[in-house]
């Protein structure tokens, strides 16, 4: 039998696909949104998003019960987390490790204090700093500095504290950090794992949850009302992945159930139902396998989108089963008749869809390229299986329900639908007017529009960040070096240029790893500023002339300076476990064998913007090529704007390809117009609807519009008629109604997804497919009337 070969090839193909899928890697992280071929600035941005210090932060809030219980829970939780190696740093306002910090700072004050210069240890310099220290004794600060004066008369320790101390300290209630309104205890946790390592982040998040439950249990009934909240990049990745997983499962179950129920209602034959689903299952497997081969990893969003495509891919078998039915029987001779009568039309439909999706393949946005490849592979496979395999599998005598009566009823409605031609034109004009009116704010140009993090969580993150004084870093200088020392030295040269900008109010402030660990060059220079003992004593004696102090009281100072001159330089291993180490580790990072010093810049006003031009001008000539200024938000928005621009071009190219294909096949501008016009009206009406309901359009809505063309063209082609006569048989009409229902169900369900990427496509394609069918029916009647 001739049917054996296609079936055998098909089965082998399925086995290969299953083999590929079983070895695929699935992900749900940021990677779908990050460019495949980044610029230098984008690469730095991506490094930060994936592995930067900020990416490892977890903000923890404890709510409920009373303030004292929250504080105790915070302390109990912090104690457990500090014992867990997954966490580099746990801060909640408790004085942990302060003894060690203080000793390191005090013992190394002549290496760490940027005020240590040769001038500071001249007679004049000593006189000035002593006078200042004595003045301080008179003020409130003196309460703290009095005891240190004999050892540190130049005030280096206080100078270091001033430099390290921030203004934005969280409020402290009952010994633990709390939100400003006092309703929430706060902890700041930094994980050892990178933010992009979602598996490790998930383990960290789980560990915090478990430790919180244990801490809560240890506090008795008073703590039963407490609950935990967490935000941060890692937490968001973990939640996004869980959401995508959950929704993909839910959506695929729902759309499968819906389609199965619909098809069973129509076919009334379990055999037909199972056979009808074979092309879809084959297509889905081929799609996943193709993406896995082409991209290495399959993104969860692609799978989610795949569930919608089930509704589109099932169309082909619907056409086969419903249209080929003659004398109440499908299979055998009747399916050969179907191939002759309908396959050319369906083939054009498949190719218009494929052309539409093909434009996505060229997108620099990996998420879109995956969707494109998945759809092409899936649809081609589904169509090929329907055409070449399914007819061989249909048993002789397979009967499905006769839908002719339904088709005739539909035919009657379509005939009457003609009167709606003018209202549709009016609707089109109104939609265009709406779109024209909204043209200024139609598109959302921020990458965050695609963020899978719910707005409520983002708001909580913002609140906790503000309360913790850990604002989201927007402006960042990245200083590149071949090793840690060269990066530190370059960051010190940059800092010299930044200080005047702080004074001029161009920037609010900046951070630098050298503040925690100065370069060895700086440390050597500072040590060289310290005079030998005899010389120091001589200058000190001269310096205190006119000041109310006696040199004899400052023996501890002379001893400390003499000891400092012989101290080894401070190195990273010398500060292990201290908060200095945390500071330097967060800001000095090794990436691919090179070292980056990160210098976050603060805007002059909180949450404001800074004058990038002046910062760049101030840095001109400092280590050219090694210092990069990044506006993280600006850069990511530029990235997204680039995607959007590209997607518009690609969509237009896809549209042009579809129109070109239709023209090549029909050789009739009039027919092409009749096929495309209803689709254009559908796109305009859907876009206007989205604009009117307050949605700002993202790149995914745009893709949805392209899909309305790619999917809707199939229906329009049938209405236009196989050979342009515009005559449509009742059974064909019924099959179209069923096919559209499955497509609408598939995409429409996506519209209920909470993942913005999926939601946007669903909200566009779901209504769009219905409208494409309706408008095709309404507008097609005229051509039939004209033709007959």
């Amino acid at each position: 039998m001739t049917g054996r070969w296609p079936v055998a090839i098909w089965l082998a193909f399925l086995l290969v696909c299953i083999g590929l899928i079983s070895r695929s890697h699935f992900t749900a992280d940021l990677s779908a949104f990050l460019p495949g071929a980044p610029t230098q600035e984008q690469k730095l941005l991506i490094d930060q998003l994936k592995s930067g210090a900020a990416s490892r932060l977890i903000l923890v809030g404890i709510e409920g019960a009373d303030a004292a219980t929250r504080a105790r829970a915070s302390q109990a939780l912090a104690r457990r987390l500090r014992a867990d190696g997954q966490f580099l740093y746990v801060a909640n306002g408790e004085n942990v490790g302060v003894e060690q910090d203080r000793r390191i700072l005090f013992d190394n004050r002549y290496l760490l204090s940027s005020a240590v210069t040769p001038a500071r240890f001249t007679t004049e310099g000593l006189h000035a700093s002593l006078q200042d220290s004595i003045e301080q004794l008179a003020s409130a600060t003196g309460m703290f500095t009095k005891a240190l004066l004999p050892r540190d008369p130049t005030g280096e320790f206080m100078h270091i504290l001033d430099r390290l101390g921030g203004d934005n300290q969280p409020a402290d209630i009952d010994g633990a950090w709390a939100s400003r309104d006092g309703s929430r205890a706060l902890l700041l946790v930094r994980t050892r794992a990178e933010g992009s390592d979602t598996d490790s982040q998930e383990r960290a998040v789980d560990a915090i949850r478990q430790d919180f439950a244990l801490a809560q249990g240890s506090l008795g009934t008073a703590a039963s009302g407490l609950h935990l909240g967490m935000t941060g990049p890692g937490v968001f990745s973990v939640e996004a992945r869980a959401t995508i997983k959950r929704e993909v499962t839910r959506l695929s179950i729902l759309s499968t159930l819906f389609i199965v129920a619909l098809l069973f209602t129509v076919y009334r034959s379990p055999t037909a139902l199972v056979l009808g689903l074979l092309p879809v299952v084959s297509g889905a497997l081929a799609g996943v396998a193709a993406v896995s081969l082409g991209f290495g990893t399959v993104h969860g969003v692609t799978l989610g989108f795949g569930t919608a495509l089930i509704g589109e891919a099932v169309d082909y078998s619907i056409y086969l089963l419903m249209q080929s039915e003659r004398s109440g029987e499908v299979g055998g001779a009747s399916s050969r008749g179907w191939v002759a009568a309908f396959w050319p039309t369906i083939r054009i439909g498949v190719f218009t869809s494929v052309f539409g999706f093909a434009s996505l393949l060229f997108s620099g946005f990996p998420g879109l390229a995956q969707l494109g490849l998945y759809s092409i592979a899936g649809l081609l496979t589904a169509a090929a299986v329907t055409r070449f395999v399914l007819p061989h599998l249909l048993p002789a005598g397979l009967r499905i329900r006769d839908v002719t009566a339904f088709g005739i009823a539909l035919q009657g409605w379509t005939a009457r639908a003609r009167v709606l031609r003018w209202p549709v034109l009016g609707l089109f004009i109104a939609a265009c007017a709406v779109l024209y009116g909204a043209r200024g704010h139609l598109w959302n140009t921020e990458l965050s529009a695609l963020s899978p993090v719910p707005a409520q969580e983002q708001a909580l993150d913002m609140t906790m960040r503000a309360d913790l004084g850990a604002p989201d870093v927007r402006y960042l200088l990245v200083v590149d070096g071949t090793d840690a020392e060269s990066a530190l030295e370059a960051s010190e040269r940059v800092a010299d240029r930044l200080r005047p900008l702080v004074e001029a109010g161009v920037i609010g402030g900046f951070q630098s790893p050298a503040r925690y660990l100065p370069s060895e060059a700086s440390q050597r220079a500072r040590l060289a500023s310290l005079p030998a003992d005899a010389e120091l004593r001589r200058r000190f004696d001269a310096a205190i002339v006119g000041l109310p102090v006696r040199a004899a009281r400052f023996e501890p100072f002379f001893a400390d300076v003499a000891a400092a001159r012989n101290r080894p330089l401070l190195q990273r291993k010398g500060i292990e476990g201290s908060s200095l180490a945390q500071g330097v580790d967060a800001l000095l990072v090794e990436i691919d064998g090179r070292w980056n010093a990160l210098m976050p810049l603060e805007a002059p006003t909180a949450g404001g913007t800074l004058d990038a031009g002046r910062v760049r001008a101030a840095l001109a000539g400092v280590d050219p090529g090694a210092v990069h200024f990044i506006d993280m938000k600006g850069e990511s928005d530029r990235l997204y704007a680039g995607y959007l621009r590209e997607a518009i071009l690609l969509s237009l190219a896809g549209l042009a390809a579809i129109v070109g294909l239709l023209f090549a096949v029909t050789r009739s501008p009039g027919r092409v117009f009749r096929i495309v016009a209803p689709l254009a009206v559908a796109v305009a009406v859907v876009s206007a609807g989205l604009a009117l309901t307050g949605h700002s359009l993202t790149i995914l809505h745009l893709v949805g519009m392209l899909l309305i063309f790619a999917v809707g063209s199939n229906y329009a082609l049938f209405f236009d008629g196989v050979d342009g006569r515009g005559e449509i048989a009742p059974r064909t009409l019924a099959s179209l109604a069923v096919a559209t229902s499955t497509t609408v169900a598939g995409f429409g369900l996506l519209g209920f997804s909470s993942v913005p990427v999926l939601n946007a496509i669903g909200m566009t394609v779901g209504p769009g497919a219905v409208l494409a069918l309706l408008f095709s029916a309404i507008l097609a009647r005229r051509t039939e009337a004209a033709a007959s």
């Binding site: 004595i134 003020s139 009095k146 005891a147 390290l164 101390g165 969280p170 402290d172």
Partner: protein, 195 residues
């Protein structure tokens, strides 16, 4: 981050606690004084302060303004020899000097809390607050009273030996603090507008 706070905390860590007890004064009663002070409400005053410190040979002087806003905000703005603002609001102590701001929690610095807190509690007429930390002894008359505060706990005594507050009616005129290390400060207060 709050490094400066925590370092300071450790540098000058002190502890404070103790049982409660009260002592009664003669003729002009403690209740009368506290009630008068409590009704004094908000106030603005100038101060001069002289500190006698072992580390320097001569006394160091400072002066500025004091402002009390009931019930628990005390602002001490030093104008000479250099500008510094210290604000005690609730339990939060903020010290601002040359664009450097330090925010501290009072409970982390019981010794300093004892010194600054005693002034605030006196201005507020907060007898209960005072008695938690000190034994109170009142002498003199309404026209010239003298309130002696002695720490209840020995560990506080190492930092604050005693505080003597003098005044007239509901007005605090001077605060003298003797510290555990022998250093001493005398703050003279003049209500704004009065002579």
């Amino acid at each position: 981050m709050s490094r400066s706070k925590t370092f300071l905390h450790l540098a000058f860590i002190l502890t404070l606690s103790g049982p409660c007890q009260s002592t009664w004064a003669a003729n002009w009663s403690l209740d009368q004084l506290m009630s008068a002070l409590a009704h004094g409400g908000n106030g603005m005053a100038t101060f001069t302060e002289r500190k006698y410190l072992a580390v320097v040979d001569i006394p160091v002087d400072s002066s500025g303004e004091l402002r009390f806003i009931a019930p628990d905000r005390l602002e001490k703005r030093t104008l000479k020899p250099s500008v510094e603002t210290m604000v005690l609001d609730g339990n939060t102590l903020t010290i601002e000097r040359r664009n450097q701001k330090h925010v501290l929690q009072l409970q982390d610095y019981p010794g300093i809390a004892g010194m600054i807190g005693s002034i605030r509690a006196t201005l507020a007429g907060d007898r209960k607050g005072l008695e938690q930390v000190y034994q109170l002894k009142l002498n003199g008359s309404a026209e010239h009273w003298s309130l002696l505060l002695k720490p209840r706990d020995a560990s506080v005594g190492r930092v604050v030996k005693q505080i003597q507050i003098e005044g007239r009616q509901d007005e605090v005129r001077s605060v003298e603090i003797e510290q555990g290390d022998g250093d001493r400060s005398v703050m003279t207060i003049r209500k704004a507008g009065s002579s």
